[in-house]
Symmetry: C2
Subunit: 107 residues, 2 copies
């Protein structure tokens, strides 16, 4: 049993979010649950790659999953991740705006 500090737990969860393919999957699942066989064709990657990303997000508590026949359905179990992404977008936007301002000021 390893005892993790607060910053390590935070970093761990942020790490799960910090990957473009995983974010793409999250946005795709935003509309509702999807079978892995529906997620795969959306992505250009090998199914095994997608599977690992899905497992990682499930283990982190972000996704839920259920089995139905041969298919496995995933859904957003932790919708607050989109709040996080909304904040990230706000921050990115002000970065861009600030950079634009600096460029204008330098002319």
């Amino acid at each position: 049993m390893i005892k993790l500090k607060k910053v390590e737990l935070e970093a761990q969860l942020l790490e799960v979010l910090a990957q473009p393919t995983r974010l793409k999957i999250l946005y795709f699942l935003r509309d509702g649950e999807r079978c892995a066989c529906e997620i795969n064709p959306m992505m250009r990657e090998d199914p095994s790659v997608i599977s690992r990303h899905l497992v990682k997000m499930r283990d982190a508590g972000i996704l839920g999953c259920r089995k139905e026949g041969v298919s496995i359905y995933y859904w957003i179990k932790e919708p607050r991740v989109f709040k996080v992404l909304g904040l990230i977008d706000e921050i990115l936007l002000s970065s861009v705006q600030e950079r634009a301002h600096d460029i204008r000021a330098s002319l």
Copy 2:
């Protein structure tokens, strides 16, 4: 000039946050600006390691920095990162609570 997609920009910023040492520095700077020479003794790492983390966060727009003599002062330029961390903490907390609930239910 590389054009980055939205999920790639988001992942990039999240990646900067997803590191325990960097989070530790952020929390330390929460009270106000600090000289690198004040940050270093707080951490156990080599000053060069801390320097790289500081540069990374500055480049990401999270930290500001100013030079004063030989010292370099850093401060939180993007306080919304703490909003992000607050959300992350909320999510972590419900994960723990859910796990506790599952354990109780399995007895």
